[in-house]
């Protein structure tokens, strides 16, 4: 066995083909996304990819994307979480209640302080309920399907209790910023430059480290190509959104979340153990992995992300409503699966789930712009999900 091929060193074309084949699933969904965008552009005379719609599209997908990101890890470990929609909804309603009702009795001025407190409470509620679920699932060994289904019903009731059947306003300026705020154009550019610099730094230091171990390096042009590709994406995105109102704050929050979660999945023991548990639970157990602790952590994390999603939801809508979070779990699960997460566990990426979420949101808004009624939107989403997964299964079988 030669260590040389642990890092590649063959011809240009074969390298590119290899990368393509290894990541074909990720590329497939990105291509699908581009096709959908192109189709909708054509059918709406270009309105679909106009700056305003582009900006709104990304803003809109953030809420369920927080949920989808957490859902990836849940499904990877072989579990499911049906409560995420209603839990996020409950958080949004709690936040609204504090903002509209409770703080006014304690702190008459509606300032940043009260909003900050509301946000913290929202996060705490999400994490707390996630904690309870996590304990029941991981340590009391009640199946996740049942526990989260039960929580979903409980949260539904809780939403009705807190709202007392009414809609609660949550449109204080400090709260609005979270989901409806934008960064000024130059700040957006600073971020873009910063990210590009980080990407190049990462590439260079990665190569140096490999060299220090005596591993053979991938050809420079390949690494450069990858780094430039992502840099172009970042710069392109900032350019597009700056044409409207600037970099959306909720998207910034989501980006930070995605980076953090991807790091967790790939570079920490927690992530490795999660994928091993999903891949072969018995083998993981016999390899010394603490399965209960890992599954516990996964569900606590999911709860926290529901808290984030709920806060953003309250800010986005500006109200706490009785229907808050309805069906979000389906979008979260659908996004994860479209993005390549396998229902059998052990496989799945956060990035893929984000693309999946973009696809589902694009379908929704695209059909909306074309003035097609909501009923068809649901149908199209369902058909796309099934077709996409079929395509994936088919490709896998014939590889």
């Amino acid at each position: 066995m030669n260590s040389d091929s642990n890092t590649s060193n063959n011809s240009v074309v074969s390298n590119l083909v290899k990368i393509l084949r290894e990541n074909i699933q990720t590329y497939a969904i990105v291509v699908a996304l581009i096709i959908i965008w192109t189709l909708f552009s054509a059918m709406t005379e270009g309105r679909f990819v106009g700056p305003q719609n582009f900006s709104n599209l990304f803003r809109q997908m953030t809420i369920t994307s927080f949920l989808a990101a957490g859902m990836v890890l849940v499904i990877v470990t072989g579990n499911i979480d049906l409560s995420v929609g209603k839990l996020a909804g409950f958080v949004s309603v709690v936040v609204a209640k504090f903002q509209d009702d409770i703080w006014t009795q304690v702190f008459p001025e509606q300032g940043v302080l009260t909003t900050a407190l509301s946000v913290l409470i929202g996060l705490a509620v999400g994490t707390g309920i996630g904690l309870i679920q996590a304990y029941i699932i991981a340590y009391l060994k009640v199946p996740a399907f049942i526990v989260t289904l039960g929580t979903m019903w409980i949260m539904n009731g809780a939403i009705l209790l807190v709202t007392e059947g009414k809609t609660i306003a949550a449109d204080q300026p400090a709260l609005k910023v979270i989901a409806q705020g934008y960064l000024p154009a130059n700040v957006g550019w600073i971020i873009a430059v910063g990210v590009v610099a980080l990407l190049f730094y990462g590439m260079v230091s990665g190569r140096q480290k490999k060299r220090s171990y005596g591993f053979e390096l991938a050809p420079l042009y390949l690494d450069l190509l990858k780094t430039i590709f992502f840099s172009v994406l970042v710069v392109g995105y900032v350019y597009m959104v700056n044409q409207y109102n600037g970099f959306q704050i909720p998207v910034l929050l989501l980006a930070i979340t995605v980076v953090a979660l991807t790091y967790l999945s790939n570079n920490t023991r927690f992530g490795r153990y999660a994928y091993a548990i999903g891949g072969n639970r018995e083998a993981a157990r016999l390899s010394g992995v603490d399965i209960r602790k890992n599954i516990f952590s996964v569900f606590v994390l999911m709860g926290f992300l529901c808290g984030v999603g709920g806060v953003v939801l309250a800010s986005y809508v500006g109200y706490g409503t009785i229907g808050a979070g309805q069906s979000y779990e389906l979008d979260a699960i659908g996004s994860a699966i479209l993005g390549g997460t396998s229902t059998l566990g052990g496989v799945g990426t956060i990035f893929g789930a984000m693309v999946g979420s973009l696809i589902l949101t694009s379908l929704g808004t695209g059909l909306q712009i074309m003035n097609i009624q909501a009923a068809w939107q649901y149908m199209v989403k369902g058909i796309v999900l099934v077709v996409a997964v079929f395509g994936d299964v088919y490709l896998r079988r014939n590889r």
Partner: protein
């Protein structure tokens, strides 16, 4: 049916110049072989030699068009397409796989007629189903009942069910792939009887096994494959085990077991009168009084019949099975209280499990990820795993164990059995154990890879690691151990020094004859 049924000289399967390629690998290279009707035809060869590939062509897994060459079945070209696997069974080619394909929650009858249940007025005709099953079982003298629940049957009887299933479809050719790897000696004898009876009924059997001695009990002729080519195909009477091994590896294998001079050191691990209960059913004892000592740098073989509790014993010591109710486990004088695999690892005990695919590896993950899984703490600071350090360390183990792979990112399910086992061993060596427990380490591995693992074990013992080796192959136990502990019905029946150990003595202890009423003599 008389014993001297003449094996007719008519060829039921005539394989002519069959070649099958996979990307980068020639699995079958111009294979020509003839299988006579009514004979028991053995196939042997190292892993990767092409046996399974050829069987998969016969059974339709690789349909017509996915290979070159011609195969004549009963004189006509075998043309399996469009549901080839189904077609193969319809024309009478049936396979009994190593991994049994039965539904444990159903009965023998339900499994035998799965998918072909007799139907009457839109519903299943259960009476006919069970009657037909019973007729079949009686006809071939299979010692199971049609109403038996699969989950209550031992592996041997499960296998009989699989055979019955094949026969119910009027199999003319029965392919048995490694049928005896999970059977006790008694069950193996039963299987041999069944095959002889089938031969009497005119059924042709293709028999694949790594246990070469079995060919000489039952096969009429043997074909040896190596690197996809037919090395030889002869009547059994012209062959013996040494010749077979020669043909298989293409070189003189004068000794199956590498020699090693070593002097075991002081006692490292002491297990005294260990009793353990089933974790799911605390009233049931699974270890009923086991004791042994293990010294530094020695290989202790643990022999015993299937079901004697060897795996349960070591899994209990490893902290991942039974609950200890009595007795002690002491390492370096310190009494251990191991609650799970992680504890065991930290105390310096590692376990290479019996079933590498379900318990030893996460097959969908890469070699690298598997090797490092129990050892990630070595490469992690705070939250971050240093993936280059991980790769570096894993490479060293993969190199020293000579794992055959282009790189460590290959998923484990694409490796051969021998290489998979090496990955499992690597992963446990990386945790630098003092005691390495290996449960049936060479099961399902070809002769060449077995030798490499034996060499490795000797090396490790020489470095001072204490090895416990559970094995069901008496030759392996006698060839590798310094001492042999024999278990019988959950207890230690006795320990023998290698100088005085013989197959007969071990069997006597294992069957409880030596101890009369099986009282522990550890």
């Amino acid at each position: 049916m008389t014993d001297n049924i003449k094996v007719e000289n008519d060829i039921i399967l005539d394989v002519k110049n069959v070649t099958k390629n996979f990307p980068g690998v020639v699995a079958l290279d111009d294979v020509t072989v003839q299988i006579r009707r009514g004979e028991i035809h053995g196939f042997c060869g190292e892993n990767g030699a092409g046996k399974s590939t050829l069987m998969k062509i016969f059974s339709g897994v690789y349909p017509y068009g996915e290979y070159e060459g011609k195969i004549l079945y009963e004189g006509e070209e075998l043309h399996l397409e469009n549901g080839a696997i189904r077609k193969a069974t319809e024309v009478g080619i049936a396979t009994v796989y190593q991994e049994l394909t039965l539904v444990p929650t159903m009965t023998v009858g339900e499994n035998v007629y799965m998918g072909r249940e007799p139907v009457e007025k839109g519903g299943i005709n259960w009476d006919k189903l069970y009657a037909d099953t019973q007729k079949l079982l009686t006809r071939y003298s299979l010692d199971i009942q049609a109403h038996d629940l699969i989950s209550r049957l031992g592996v041997g009887k499960m296998q009989m069910t699989e055979i019955a299933k094949a026969l119910s479809e009027d199999a003319k050719v029965l392919i048995l792939d490694e049928p005896t790897s999970a059977l006790t000696d008694a069950e193996i004898e039963q299987l041999m009887d069944i095959l002889r009876r089938l031969k009497g009924h005119g059924v042709t059997c293709i028999y694949i096994t790594h246990k070469l001695e079995e060919f000489f009990k039952i096969a009429d002729s043997i074909t040896v494959l190596r690197d996809g080519k037919v090395v030889t195909s002869q009547p059994t009477e012209n062959l013996n085990v040494e010749k077979l091994v020669n043909y298989m590896v293409g070189r003189e294998m004068s000794e199956r077991f590498p020699k090693s001079k070593r002097e075991p050191g002081s006692v490292l691990l002491e297990v005294k009168n260990l009793h353990a209960a089933d974790p799911n059913e605390s009233s049931r004892e699974i270890v009923k009084g086991a004791s042994f000592n293990l010294r530094k740098g020695e290989i202790l073989g643990i022999a015993g019949l299937m079901g004697s509790g060897r795996t349960e014993l070591v899994m209990t010591i490893f902290g991942e099975y039974g609950k200890i109710t009595e007795g002690t486990v002491t390492l370096n004088g310190k009494e251990l209280h191991i609650k799970n695999a992680n504890d065991a690892m930290h105390e310096g005990i590692s376990l290479v499990p019996e079933d590498r695919k379900t318990h030893g590896l996460v097959l969908m993950q890469s070699i690298l990820q598997n090797i490092s899984l129990p050892n990630l703490d070595q490469f992690a600071s705070w939250m971050r795993i240093d993936d280059l350090a991980e790769l570096n360390a894993s490479l060293q183990y993969a190199k020293s164990l000579e794992i055959k792979t282009p790189n460590l990112f290959v998923p484990c399910d694409s490796l051969s059995g021998g290489n998979q086992q090496k990955v499992v061993i690597s992963k446990w060596l990386m945790s630098k154990p003092q005691v390495l427990i290996m449960d049936d380490p060479t099961r399902g591995i070809d002769v060449g890879a077995k030798y490499e693992i034996y060499k490795l074990m000797n090396n490790l013992a020489q470095q001072g690691i204490a090895i416990v080796m559970i094995s069901s192959e008496l030759e392996e136990v006698l060839g590798m151990s310094d001492r042999v502990m024999v278990m019988c019905e959950g207890k230690s029946a006795g320990t023998l020094d290698i100088a005085e150990a013989t197959e007969e003595k071990i069997m006597a202890l294992a069957t409880g004859i030596a101890n009369g009423n099986g009282r522990s003599a550890g």
